[in-house]
Structures are given as C-alpha cells and as structure tokens.
C-alpha cells in the first residue's frame, strides 16, 4: 500500500515583518518620549478641562505637597543669571554666609523647601542628594511668610520679562495652605496664576462642551481656549 507522503514543513517563521513592526513602535516611543523632569516632591495634580499648555520657560513655581508643605522653584531657560541674583540678594539681606559653591548649587536645586535660616545646610549638600533630605517646607503662615520674600526677589530678578506664576498642588493639600500661597502672591501684587493640572475632557452636553463644538465649527474664530 503506497503511503501518502506528507511534505515536511519548516517550523521556521519569517520574523522580518514582526521585527519591522517592533522597531517602528520602538522608534515612535523614542521620538515621543519626554522624560519626566526630576521632581522634588511627589505631587498628584487635579484634573481640569483647561486646554492651555504648560509653559516652563521663565517661571516661578510653588509646589504644595499632600501635607500642605510649600516648595519654591524657578525656571529660566536662557538667562541663568537670575538664579545668581536671587541667591546673592538672599545671602546679603539675610546674612547667610553662603560660599560660592553653595550659591552655585542653588541654580541646580529642583526646589527649595526649607526656611531661609536652614538654607545654608540645604545648599551645602550636592543638589543630586536633595531628594534624600526631608524638607520641612517654606513657612507661609501670616506671622512669618517667607514665601513672600522668595517671590519678591524672584520677581525683581526676572524684571522686564514675561513671567509665569505656576502653582502645582497635590490633590490632598488642604485649602488654607493654598490660600496662604495665593496671599504670598497677591501681597506682591501678582494676580494672575496658572494652576498646573492634568487635562480632562469637557463633560458631554455641558455648556463648555457645546461652546467648544461651536468654536470648532467657526474655525475663523479668535480667542480659542477658554
């Protein structure tokens, strides 16, 4: 009886398309990735329907962590001299006795979260190790509002430039600490803030939703965003 010969098929699979796709995805992620900047404190921001992008070019950022502790940071894209002018001014007015190295550390510090009196001991540590230090937060209560001094100095250093005032708060931060931060700004005659939030869609059928639909229809319309 003649046996039927079954042709032996190769178990080899051609992986080339698979590799192609894998590397395409890989390229996409490499291109699209924006690494998270080193964050001084862990903060989960609330969501909002706002569509305005965050600008971190020239900015002062006040961070509120979940315990309501306040941190201060500055961003300057082009002009590093603002850091120096702020810290030098702080050094002379408060008699901190900072060394040149300590002042240089200031510009690399992601966030200041200590009272001014303890600034020297913070800056004497290399900035890379700051995340291991437990900071107690800048005092913002009405009796001793040091944040106000920081903001005043930073505004002076940035004078003439468009400055963004950013407030980054944690979901769980309590309102009074937020109020104190606002007060530190308003007492420096600053009234326009940007609260950092994560994007969220406008709820379906709400007035904003309808408004945005309408806005999209008349694309010639100016004043988009809000």
């Amino acid at each position: 009886m003649p046996s039927v010969k079954i042709p032996k098929k190769s178990t080899h699979v051609d992986m080339t398309p698979f590799v192609d796709v894998a590397f395409l995805i890989l390229t996409f992620f490499i291109m699209a990735t924006k690494f998270k900047p080193p964050e001084p404190v862990e903060v989960t921001t609330p969501n909002s329907v706002s569509t305005k992008d965050l600008e971190e070019k020239d900015a002062i950022m006040v961070t509120l962590d979940k315990e309501g502790k306040v941190y201060f940071s500055m961003f300057s894209e082009k002009d590093p001299s603002v850091f120096r002018s702020v810290i030098e001014n702080m050094n002379t007015t408060r008699n901190l006795g900072l060394t040149a190295q300590e002042m240089a550390n200031f510009s690399k510090t992601a966030a200041i979260g200590v009272p001014i009196a303890k600034l020297k001991s913070l800056l004497s540590v290399p900035p890379d190790e700051h995340k291991n230090i437990k900071m107690e937060g800048i005092p913002v209560d009405s009796a001793n509002n040091e944040l106000k001094i920081w903001i005043r100095d930073a505004i002076n250093a940035f004078s003439g430039k468009k400055l963004n005032l950013l407030i980054k708060g944690d979901n769980a931060a309590k309102y009074p600490s937020f109020k104190n931060v606002l007060k530190a700004f308003t007492e420096n005659d600053q009234y326009k803030f940007n609260l950092i939030t994560m994007p969220e869609d406008a709820p379906l059928g709400s007035e904003l939703y309808n408004f945005r639909q309408k806005e999209q229809k008349n694309k010639s319309a100016e004043g988009s965003g809000k």
Partner: protein, 210 residues
C-alpha cells in the same frame, strides 16, 4: 589574489577527498533581536509621559480695604458654594437666612452641584432686565469672539455671581474642581472668598454628624 585563483580553477574537477562546501543558510535567527526590541518598547512605554500637563488660569482680585472699590453682587444673582471635609458641598442662594423655621442652607455633592449652578443661571437669565450697561457688555463680547453668533445673549447672565468658599478642611482638589465647574458651566463671574464663621459652623455641623 594570485594565490586564490588557481584554487578556483581547480574546483572544476573535484579530486578525491575534496568535499563539497556546505551551503550556509542566509536565514538569521531574529529572536534575540525581537526580544531586545520589545524590551526597549516596554521600557519606553513605562517611562513616557503621554499627556503633558495643562494649566488653568486663575485671577485673584486685589485686596482692597476700601468698600467702595469692592465688587457688589446683586442678591438675586448670588450663589454661594461651600466645601467641607470629605468632598462635601453646600450651597445657598442669595443671602444666608438662618432662623427657627429653617434655612436656605442646602447640601449637595460635586456631581449635583452642576445642576444647581445651571438652574441658578437659568433663573438669572429669566430675571434679566435690559439696560444701557448691557449694550456695553454685548459689544465687548462681540469684539472678543467675533464669530460667536450668540453675542446678543452675552449679557443675560451678568447678574450671576458664584461665590466659592472652601473651608479649612477642603482640599486643593475640591477647590480646583469647583473652579473647573465655573469653566464648564461658563460662569463668567465668580470669586473665591474666605468662609465666614456662621457658614463654617453650619458646614461643620453637617459634616460632623455623618
């Protein structure tokens, strides 16, 4: 070269003991490459921050001692919203009235407050009386949004003022959510004000009992 050529010529005739060169497969095992590729993909997926943060504008008024400079709100158009601990929301319309017969202090939630705001807005629009100032608001609106066909309606809700009063137990998220609610419902006039003692007591009494 010269040394190779004779060998090639000689390969025509295979002598005894000359073995046929084994044909190597051109196939490469790609499995390690794929492994590496996917490892990198996984790494980038985890590190990537897809949605970049946005910012929400907030304008605070100047602190004025002078009462004449302070913004006045019509009682009929005022809606006060208070936030307490554990995401609780309370509100009253107009002025707070507390007496034995009851009060206009009501409890709500973050989900239900939208309806309250919209109802108030509708009531204010229904109540609207036209006057000269209205024209000014309309023209400003027309200038800002030239393509908006509804510019005539721009001033209908001008008497609506929402006052937001978080107490000391409300969180930052509550505050931002409520400010966001103003954007969602297109409330043009709102203010963030400190809670008064009477109101705070009512809020605490309501939240403490739960």
């Amino acid at each position: 070269m010269a040394s190779i050529e004779p060998a090639e010529g000689g390969s025509h005739k295979k002598g005894p003991g000359v073995k046929k060169a084994k044909k190597l497969s051109t196939r490469i095992d790609m499995t390690p490459m794929v492994d590496l590729g996917f490892l990198l993909i996984t790494f980038f997926i985890f590190t990537t921050t897809m949605n970049t943060p946005t910012t929400m504008d907030l304008f605070m008024p100047k602190d004025t001692e002078n009462e004449q400079e302070q913004n006045k709100a019509k009682e009929s158009g005022a809606l006060t919203i208070m936030m307490g601990k554990d995401n609780t929301v309370f509100y009253y319309e107009g002025q707070l009235k507390v007496d034995e017969t009851g009060n206009n202090f009501k409890s709500s939630t973050f989900k239900e407050i939208r309806k309250v705001i919209l109802d108030k807005k509708k009531a204010v629009i229904a109540d609207h009386r036209h006057d000269d100032k209205c024209e000014e608001i309309r023209q400003n609106w027309k200038k800002r949004f030239p393509a908006d066909p509804d510019w005539e309606k721009a001033c209908l809700d001008r008497d609506l003022v929402v006052v937001i009063k978080p107490n000391e137990e409300a969180t930052f998220k509550n505050t931002v959510d409520m400010l966001d609610e103003m954007t969602i419902n297109q409330v043009k006039r709102f203010a963030m004000v400190d809670i008064s003692e009477v109101e705070n007591e009512l809020v605490k009494k309501s939240t403490g009992g739960q």
